[in-house]
Each structure stands twice: as C-alpha cells, then as structure tokens.
Symmetry: C2
Subunit: 182 residues, 2 copies
C-alpha cells in the first residue's frame, strides 16, 4: 500500500471509530465527511459498511491487547490488573454497539477481529496471573470466571446505561470480591 | 374470557415458553403443536409472534417478581437475597434470548412487560434492603450498582455460555464483594 493510501486508511478508521461510536446507524458518508475524503475513497478501502465496522472493532481489540501487554510488562501487578479491567468496562459501550451492529447486519466478527480478541484475552490472562502472584487478586479465582466478570461488568454497565459514579461503585464491589479473603 | 379459552391461553403460553426458550427462531406452528391446539387458536390469542414473545417475557418477569415477593416475606434475609440473585442469573439465558428476539423483530418490550420488570426491580430492592438491615449485604452498596451487577452477571453468564461450575464460581466472587467488609 502506498503511503498516501495508508494515510487515508488510517484517517477513515479514526473517523469511523468516532462516528460509529456515537451511532452505529451512521452512514459511510458521515465517515467520509469527517475523514475529509471522498466516498469513493472509503469504498476503495472498505467495500461495505460491514467491512468498515469490522476493521474498527479489530482496531479497538488490538489497542486493548496492546494496552494489556504494556501494563503486564511494568509497574505494580495489582494496579495494572484493576486498571485494565476498568478501562475495558469504560470503553465497552461503543465496542459492544459495533459488535451488535455487525450482528444485526448478519455478520459475525471475522478472522481479524477474532484473532485480536483472542490475543486480548491472552494478555488479560497474563495480567491476572501476575496480579495473583503478587497477592492483589485472590489465588482461587480461575480465568474463566474472572473473564466472565469482565464481560458481565462491561455488559451490565452498557445495558443499564450507568452513570460514571454508579459504574465506579459497581466495580468497587466487584474488586472487593476479587481481592484475597482475609 | 371463558374457562376453556383461558385454559388454551395458558397451554399456549407454557408451550411457547418451552419452545422459544430453546430457540427464538422457532415458529408459532411449533408452539401450537406442543400445546396441542390448532394454529388458528394460537393466532386468536396472539395475532403475531411478537405478541406471543411479549406475553412469554411478561410471564417470566411476573414469576420472578412473585418469587422475590415471597422470599421477601419469610426466612433468612441474606439467604433470600442471594438465592434470588442466583435464580435470576440461572434463568437469564432464555429470558434475554426472548428480549433480543423482540428487539430483532423491531419491537421494544411493551407496557405489560415493562410493568412486570418494574415490579420485579422493586421486589428485588426490598430483598436488598432486608439483607442490608440483617448485615448479609454491605450497607454502603446502593440499589443502582447492585442492580447493575445483577444485570451484568446475567449477561456475563449468557454471553460467554458459561458452564454451571464457572457460573457458580463467578457468583461466589461477586457475593464476596457484596458481603460487609470485616
């Protein structure tokens, strides 16, 4: 891909993330306008809206994966784990909206999004293991239920349209449950 | 409504709950067969599939409301609260599937389902208040976040297709978070 084509692709993706984060009913035309490119350019990179949504979802999962990997590499393990957990929940609304828009369009997340999701879960597993070794998360919690709590908190925050204070209080209860028993 | 018409309505609803609990893609015809009535009888009571789905959803919410009210009237307040919480999460899968089928049919839950949902939340609030007075749930937890945790646990259990052991371990972590700090 030539440099200017790559630039365009990134500008379209950045714009799409903003536009679809507000409303998945937004059109490819809205994305083109915000990106400052013609609609033909959008269609050259992403022939359908589903492909564009899919690319945005993949980008977000990859970014979460990268954050988890960075956090796993440095700093206090407990802080890293709870910080990442909170970030996933905070960003869940627009991510779930995109995944649901894909579902509504009759399209399951494709190979790239699934791969990024898998890598994100692996990186989250690393964060969990480190936090457990350091004593910040109870040792008897297994990945499956901690991941279910992450998914649940994300969906709970989104489904009930939580304001930020309630979301933080919800997470505080959950984190108390995840800390070792005294 | 005549007694035999009322019987038919109840048989249809019971059958619909079973049939749609397995797959919301099931047809009204499947419901008629299981109920042992003609398809015309189903359509007389429920002119559209949306109305039938809506009636099933309302029935389930009313039943949960009744369970919460019964539990609030007798027995140990802590046991009652945690038992009800677990029951909602256990039944979440098919209930959410029905709500989503309604959404996919472009129909929001109607007046009856919303009223039943409201009454269920109120009864859950009673259970919570009693459990907090008895010291089984931390006093600083407010209804909003406890309800968000209930919704989240329900959706987490459903979205990740949890097996029963993982679900129970997820709830154990959550309940530890809800118990008073020592």
């Amino acid at each position: 891909m030539r440099a200017d084509a790559r630039d365009n692709r990134e500008r379209i993706l950045t714009a799409a993330e903003q536009v679809f984060g507000r409303s998945t009913a937004a059109s490819t035309d809205d994305v083109a306008k915000l990106a400052g490119v013609g609609i033909a350019t959008v269609f050259r990179h992403f022939p359908t809206k589903v492909e564009l949504l899919e690319a945005v979802l993949t980008l977000r999962l990859q970014r979460l994966r990268d954050t988890a990997r960075e956090l796993a590499g440095a700093g206090d393990p407990g802080t890293a784990f709870y910080e990442f957990f909170s970030q996933v929940v905070a960003e869940a609304g627009s991510k779930l909206a995109i995944a649901e828009a894909l579902g509504a369009a009759g399209s399951a997340p494709g190979e790239h999004a699934r791969q990024a999701g898998l890598e994100m879960r692996q990186a989250f597993g690393e964060l969990l293991a480190r936090a457990q070794r350091s004593g910040a998360v109870r040792a008897d919690a297994q990945f499956a239920e901690v991941y279910a709590l992450l998914v649940g908190a994300s969906r709970g925050a989104t489904a009930t349209g939580l304001d930020l204070e309630v979301r933080d209080r919800m997470l505080a209860v959950l984190y108390d449950g995840l800390r070792p028993r005294r």
